[in-house]
Amino acid sequence: MVSGGCRPQAQDGGGGGGRPGEAARSDPSQFLHLQPQARAQRGREKKILFYHPNEVEKNEKIRNVGLCEAIVQFTRTFSPTKPAKSLHTQKNRQFFHEPEENFWMVMVVRNPIIEKHKDGKPVYEYQEEELLDKVYSSVLQQCYSMYKLFNGTFLRAMEDGGVKVLKERLEKFFHRYLQTLHLQSCDLLDVFCGISFFPLDKMTYLKIQSFINRMEESLNIVKYTAFLYNDQLIWSGLEQDDMRILYKYLTTSLFPRHMEPELAGRDSPIRAEMPGNLQHYGRFLTGPLNLNDPDTKCRFPKIFVNTDDTYEELHLIVYKAMSAAVCFMIDASIPPTLEFCRKLDSIVGPQLTVLASDICEQYNINKRISGAEKEPQFKFIYFNHMNLAEKSTIHMRKTPSVSLASVHPDLMKILGDINSDFSRVDEDEEIIVKAMSDYWVVGKKSDQRELYVILNQKNVNLIEVNEEVKKLCATQFNNIFFLD
């Protein structure tokens, strides 16, 4: 059983944090999990594989787990294939997810609280309709995907060493991972869990292709390669679903961690001591820190891909030069040596440095030609289910790992509601919502694509809003088949 705690949109003034009456707990939310086949022979406690926060008293853990189990079992009676996904209570929302047969993950998220004053006394009011089911159930699914990326399936852990190993792996992974979840800022983008692609002209793209192919040839143990620029994907040799979660890891965890030293000006990447005057900006984001130190460790994170199929275990080598990052994935049975790392550095470093500046130059030229330098007049989110392409002019990067919406949370919630409506039907739809204070929210679904637009114009009517959105589609999406 995995359990985690999360606190969304704390409106009670932030810092204080505690749930009324539970001041001792800094993190007021929980995760619950079931592993039903263990029920008969072992006690409920045995079924808990992971519970966060761990300080919760044993009986309460058991009680909470029991409740979840009961709800899932109960709802299964009505819908054997689709048991309950979430439970709404006054204080919490609970989300259930069965990623592998008989393994359940549960996440409890507390409803936001408003502090009101009645007769001079503070009164807390739970906002029961604020949280969006789809957002947090997506977050829960991503928790699993991320765990699986670095640890393989639960079942594999059980096969490797039984419950003990699984528990260890869960503890090790989630202990750190849960701290990185920024549940307050989760929104529609978490539902999509999309990939932002770097816009690029054909010729530069082909050059990158050529580079990747040549690198895979020279470093022949490389099985897959992914190429990113400016934290946006350009090429993935991995399958889409694996890339989706790897992309999330890279952009929300690995890259931000390495951003700060770069910004601080430390870790000056030019290494003039390279033999053969191959000056370049390449460096490892995973693996060895100093190639000149013979004792340096060449340990790379292991990742698991194609778990439904070939179940491959790989070393993840992330190498970066300026804004261009390459992920080389090599079979886990071949441990990368220092010699290999040096070879990689000497081959990839100089070429990637040149390529990175080529991309930068070409990108600026293209931007000038298309006139895209102007600030986008529209606030929109675009997502294509087919290639997971995602684009948002609503979100801004506030800290390296969190991107925040630049619009009012109420508008974000409307977007989420429209998205829920879309997911209920297969057909193309269009929804236009008049929101508060001159805001209009438009949602369009065409085939596998979704577009959400937020407009803020005084005294406009439905027809004018429709015209505006048409204009947006004509300028931003004229190269795709998007029904108007």
């Binding site: 082909l206 192919n213 193309d428 190269n479």
Partner: protein, 666 residues
């Protein structure tokens, strides 16, 4: 009319191969029995032509002459009294005739077109004989321009120069005169349509300061040849003991029509001894008699540039000319005899420009040929190999086989080598396309009349286009499936990258090859990404191919529709695709969006709506067309021409007669 014959004092007449012929170094005094020093058997890249001209070998009664202009061999028996036989490489029918023996013939040749025969018997005069049909064959003697109808010659121009020796190059109509005491100042003249123009003279740098004032530049060490369309004077500079050069070298002087002659290239021979020069297929061939090998130089290949001249090393290791078997003549009954191997690099060989080798003692005239297949294995550097091959006349099939070879085991090339080769091919391909394009533009704009020099660009064998690559290399390579698919795809993408780099529009069959390969290996996500970045350019055939993939890869549907949309000429196709998926409303909205809804067939949409088995959809579509009818004709009902009776009946059945739209009257 070529009137140069006999104008200048003839060269020193030599007994067996006189006058017009000169040996460029391969002197006859060396013995024939020299061992072949270190000649490897394989890889002979030079060969004598298979069908040589055979003539009666030189002997005391039979004199043999060669005319460089017409490339004809003259066998003159007993001063012509017992017969003259003229044979050329091209013309297979020998000309034979008799003429009066008026003394020893020093030189004999035909005018262009074999119309007039010129015979030199004395130092100062030339005899002429008309070979024009129906014209009396009487000899006449004169010294200048020939007027056959008057049987006289005319003086063109008179130049007074002290001349040591002369050399005439028929290809370029340039005559070179050796002047000054040392003989190293050369004065060229250029003949064109009966006029003679003096070009600026130039000096050949002699290897060392001559000790005495005697003739130091021999005509044996000078040759003239056209290389890559430019006339060069080739000077064989022998190794001098005083200078510390490592061996002899050939110095090339570029002789332009206008401007001065400049020393441009030095070909390093790295050896000493007796040499002879040929120029074949724009390559300078240097034969070395001592080692019985030859080397070749290509002045277009990269050399060491010292600011004014480029120094070249030989392209390939020295090799002997391919062994040659002399066919045994005689009746068929005796031909079972083994053919006799021909003595190569014999001292009786005489070499003429550009590519002629004559064996006077055996009675053969060959043209020298360069064989490209052996070169493939001798030049390891594929980039250099391509540079070399692309300049050769008969290069196409060899280049294509090199491409095939580098894609398959055991000699599979690395991707960067493959990329280099593709780039070199496409560079040549692009040059041709550009020339062709600017030619077409000039012709279309009607500017061609004002520019009579404009010629349609010639497509040489070095132009290897996409269809060549597809047919001979890429489709074969992908079908063999020997290589790992990663490599196959990398090669295809590399070729596409190279084409793009040279801004050559990629043909859709190459994209189809990529798609086919990706699909075969279930690499749909890769395909998706290529399409996403428009690496596989939009076209209707490609969109249709994608549509056909929908059943195995559903996103292909979206990709295909996007492509059709971008083409903007495929609106009908979009409607068909949507209708086939029963997305009738979407189809209608699309056609309305582009303003084509007034001309579409109502029946087609109603058919699709009915097949969708969605009554509300049918109602909506039906109503739309009723409204259209109302708008266009003032009446909502369908005309018989629209063939919608069946749908009207169905509509009434389902929704009742009263649901039909009432005509509105104004």
């Amino acid at each position: 009319m070529a009137a140069a014959a006999g104008r200048q004092p003839p060269g020193p007449a030599e007994g067996e191969a006189p006058a017009a012929g000169r040996e460029a170094g391969a002197g006859g005094e060396e013995g024939e029995g020299r061992a072949k020093g270190g000649v490897e058997a394989g890889g002979c890249y030079l060969a004598l032509c298979a069908r040589p001209v055979h003539f009666e070998k030189a002997n005391p009664v039979n004199c043999v002459f060669f005319d460089e202009a017409n490339k004809q061999v003259f066998a003159v028996r007993s001063g012509g009294a017992t017969g003259v036989v003229v044979k050329g490489l091209e013309d297979r029918n020998p000309i034979s005739f008799r003429m009066e023996d008026k003394g020893e013939v020093k030189c004999i040749k035909f005018s262009l077109g074999n119309k007039i025969l010129a015979v030199q018997r004395t130092l100062k005069s030339v005899d002429f004989l008309n070979f024009i049909p129906d014209s009396p064959q009487l000899e006449y003697t004169q010294e200048c321009k020939v007027l056959p109808e008057k049987r006289t010659l005319k003086l063109l121009k008179n130049q007074s120069i002290n001349v040591n020796w002369y050399m005439y190059c028929p290809e370029s109509s340039v005559i070179l005169l050796s002047t000054t005491v040392l003989g190293n100042v050369l004065q060229p003249f250029y003949f064109k349509s009966g006029t003679m123009s003096k070009l600026s003279k130039f000096e050949i740098e002699l290897p060392a300061a001559p000790k005495s004032s005697k003739l130091s530049l021999s005509e044996r060490d000078i040759a003239m040849a056209t290389i890559y369309g430019q006339l060069y004077v080739l000077y064989l500079r022998h190794h001098s003991r005083t200078s510390n050069s490592t061996g002899a070298e050939v110095v090339l002087y570029h002789l332009p029509r206008e401007g001065s002659c400049k020393k441009t290239h030095i070909l390093k021979l790295n050896r000493t001894g007796k040499f002879a020069l040929n120029v074949v297929d724009n390559l300078v061939v240097v034969h070395h008699q001592d080692t019985e090998t030859s080397v070749i130089f290509d002045i277009k290949l990269k050399g060491e540039f010292d600011g004014s001249t480029t120094i070249h090393q030989f392209v390939l290791p020295p090799r002997s000319i391919q062994p040659y078997q002399i066919p045994v003549a005689g009746p068929p009954s005796v031909t079972s005899q083994a053919p006799v191997p021909c003595k190569l690099y014999s001292s009786s060989w005489i070499v003429f420009q550009p590519d002629i080798i004559i064996s006077a003692s055996e009675g053969y005239l060959w043209s020298l040929q360069v064989k490209l297949e052996p070169v493939v294995n001798l030049l390891v550097d594929k980039g250099k190999l391509m540079d070399f091959l692309l300049q050769r006349k008969e290069c196409k099939m060899v280049i294509l086989s090199v491409c095939s070879q580098m894609l398959s085991e055991p000699e599979r090339g690395s991707l960067s080598v493959i990329a280099t080769v593709f780039d070199k091919l496409n560079n040549e391909y692009k040059k041709y396309l550009e020339a062709e394009q600017s030619y077409t533009m000039v012709v279309e704009t009607g500017l061609s009349r004002s520019n009579p020099l404009l010629k349609r660009p010639v497509r040489t064998q070095a132009v290897i286009d996409q269809s060549d690559m597809y047919t001979h290399v890429l489709s074969v390579f992908t079908e063999k499936k020997e290589a790992p698919h990663k490599f196959t795809i990398a090669v295809l993408m590399e070729y596409i990258r190279s084409l793009n780099q040279f801004q050559i529009a990629v043909q859709h069959y190459l994209y189809e090859l990529v798609i086919k390969t990706l699909v075969q290996h279930n690499l749909f996500y890769m395909l998706h990404q290529f399409l996403q970045y428009h690496v596989l350019s939009d076209s209707k055939p490609l969109a249709c191919l994608l549509l056909s993939l929908e059943s195995i890869y559903p996103p292909a549907h979206q990709l295909s529709l996007d492509m059709l949309k971008r083409l903007s000429t495929a609106n009908d196709e979009i409607v068909e695709v949507l209708l086939s998926k029963h997305q009738v409303l979407a189809a209608l909205r699309f056609i309305r969006g582009i303003g084509g809804h007034d001309s579409i067939s109502a029946r087609k949409f109603l058919d699709a709506a009915k097949q969708a088995e969605d009554e509300m959809l049918f109602y909506t579509i039906f109503r739309f067309f009723e409204q259209r009818n109302q708008r266009l004709r003032g009446n909502p009902s369908f005309t018989p021409g629209e063939h919608c009776e069946e749908h009207v009946t169905f509509f009434k059945q389902v929704f009742g007669e009263q649901a039909l739209m009432k005509p509105t009257t104004f």
